[in-house]
């Protein structure tokens, strides 16, 4: 069984990309468990016809955190899209605190504990567990999947935008830090295009610089947005499009990927200097210094 974790800056399309990977892997005949690790609990929405699954934390709360009383069917849901796949898609959502209260990462910690206790990896004969993890706060809770050695492979979703790459570089720092302890490595960079000039080149350049590689690139597409709106993946609405092929190729590349590395994060200064060179965009920082 392989355990993958998907990270990336908030809003970059982690859940959308993750759901398509999950579907494409299941279409190949694999049994996949997709675990959303975000208090918003909408990671598996596209796999559940736009529905939101009850969360592990929410269900545990009702049982006064008595994990022994938890039943698998209460927290793991088979996707209706499984009928289109040779394999099976299972969905789970960690959940989190009520808005504005408590710790955001607690859901992730509790969810992983619960899955272990339910012995779902064996009982469901899983081939792949995919953790889709909220990326903006890589705090202790949200780093759980890589910190405790649950996920051996990490993929980072990013566009070619500077601030998104900066977030990606920070995630690399966390991966490198936990590599020593838990052995998790970076499997690669997944490009999610935002219609930037030279974006593919920027991304492959970036991937090389952090000692990794770009495992796939999804071009910007209005169709993706339309499908997200409808609560389905592209595979249901537009199976014969280049976008859909890009996701199939991405899933294949991840499944056959053996190039795992300990990434090298940029310092801010390095990222800035590199960015100016790679993107061909001259920054206006000097004129800020001059007060103009």
């Amino acid at each position: 069984m392989r355990q993958l974790a998907i990270y990336g800056k908030g809003g970059i399309g982690k859940s959308m990309v993750s759901s398509h990977i999950t579907f494409a892997l299941a279409a190949k005949g694999l049994n996949v468990l997709h675990v959303g690790c975000d208090p918003k609990h909408d990671s598996t929405r596209l796999l559940l016809h736009g529905k939101m699954a009850p969360t592990v934390l929410g269900t545990l709360r009702k049982k006064n955190f008595n994990a022994a009383a938890l039943v698998r069917e209460e927290v793991i849901f088979e996707s209706p899209l499984t009928t289109e796949c040779a394999g099976t898609i299972y969905c789970a959502e960690s959940g989190g605190p009520e808005p504005g209260l408590g710790c955001g990462g607690k859901g992730v910690v509790e969810a992983i504990e619960a899955l272990k206790q339910l012995n779902v990896f064996k009982e469901l004969q899983l081939d792949v567990v995919l953790y889709d993890v909220l990326g903006d706060v890589v705090c202790g809770g949200f780093s759980m999947p890589i910190r405790e050695g649950h996920a051996e492979e990490i993929y980072i979703v990013t566009s070619g935008e500077l601030e998104v790459l900066f977030a990606a570089s920070n995630i690399c720092r966390a991966v490198a830090r936990f590599n020593a302890r838990a052995g998790a490595k970076l499997g690669g960079i997944i490009g999610n295009g935002r219609e930037l000039k030279n974006e593919k080149k920027i991304l492959s350049d970036f991937s090389r610089r952090i000692n990794s590689h770009m495992v796939g690139f999804i071009p910007y597409s209005e169709k993706i947005k339309e499908c997200s709106g409808k609560g389905i993946t592209l595979f249901q609405a537009y199976p014969d499009t280049p976008e859909c092929d890009a996701f199939r190729k991405l899933a294949d590349a991840i499944w056959t990927n053996t190039k795992l590395s300990v990434p090298k994060a940029f310092t801010f200064e390095e990222l800035h200097a590199w960015w100016a060179q790679s993107s061909g965009i001259t920054t206006k920082k000097q004129s800020i210094v001059e007060g103009a």
Binding site: L134, V137, L162
Partner: protein, 279 residues
Amino acid sequence: MRQIALYGKGGIGKSTVASHLSHTFAERGMKVLQVGCSPKNDSTYLLLPDFPPTILDILRQRDFQYDDIEPADIIVESPLTFPNGGKIYCAESGGPEPGVGCGGKGVVEAIETLTRLDIFKTLAIDVVLYDILGDVVCGGFSLPIRQGFAQETYVVTSGEFEALYQVTNVAKAIKRFETRSGSKLGGIIVNLRRVKNEHQIVHDFAAKIGTHILGIIPYSQMVKECGGQGSTVFRGAPESAEAQIYRDIGQRVFENTDLVIPNTIEFEDLYAWWLHYIV
């Protein structure tokens, strides 16, 4: 002194909006303090030549001895110059090292430090703008609302479902702490993302949660390009339509007195409502 909090889904353009708001306030001759509340510490990126040191880093270096800290250690003045004494001061809360500890701790410590050092008085600040990571409205990140530091909260959103859903979470937090703190919703700032019927969606959404829209920023490659150059549109493209739109938003926020306790919406209701604009 006004204290304003800005929330919204990750990646929706909060820091861009915050930096443009700070700029317009400073143009009016106000002294602005923009406090980035995200472990990424890049909120004030468009206003400074470099990243400022973070409050949490400085605290760590000084073993959390507040008495050893000077305002100049944690506040960086933007070199940008404004008429009539306008100034932008920048601070970044910072956070834990990636992957360790609590992400919200930086916000808690930052506000504590600013208060203890009496920064607002010392620098004669007219407006404080908290730019807050939006994806986890956990205990730490809700502090400006919860403890009533920010009397006014604004949210940045597009017409995308995920972004609107995040707004309803912020609305829930405001309502939850209503009696305790008194932070209220001042309105919505829209960053368009080319969603079908997006204008209609955001207008109806604002009405649904009982607030109003302070401005609509069109989807713009130009804003993105300016961001890539580390610059606001005021500097990168001062004559552009986008620059005028940001100025208008600044003016409306400046003049805004319409503060409400928003209505909350449950996920399923929001989704069913949103879907009929799309399908």
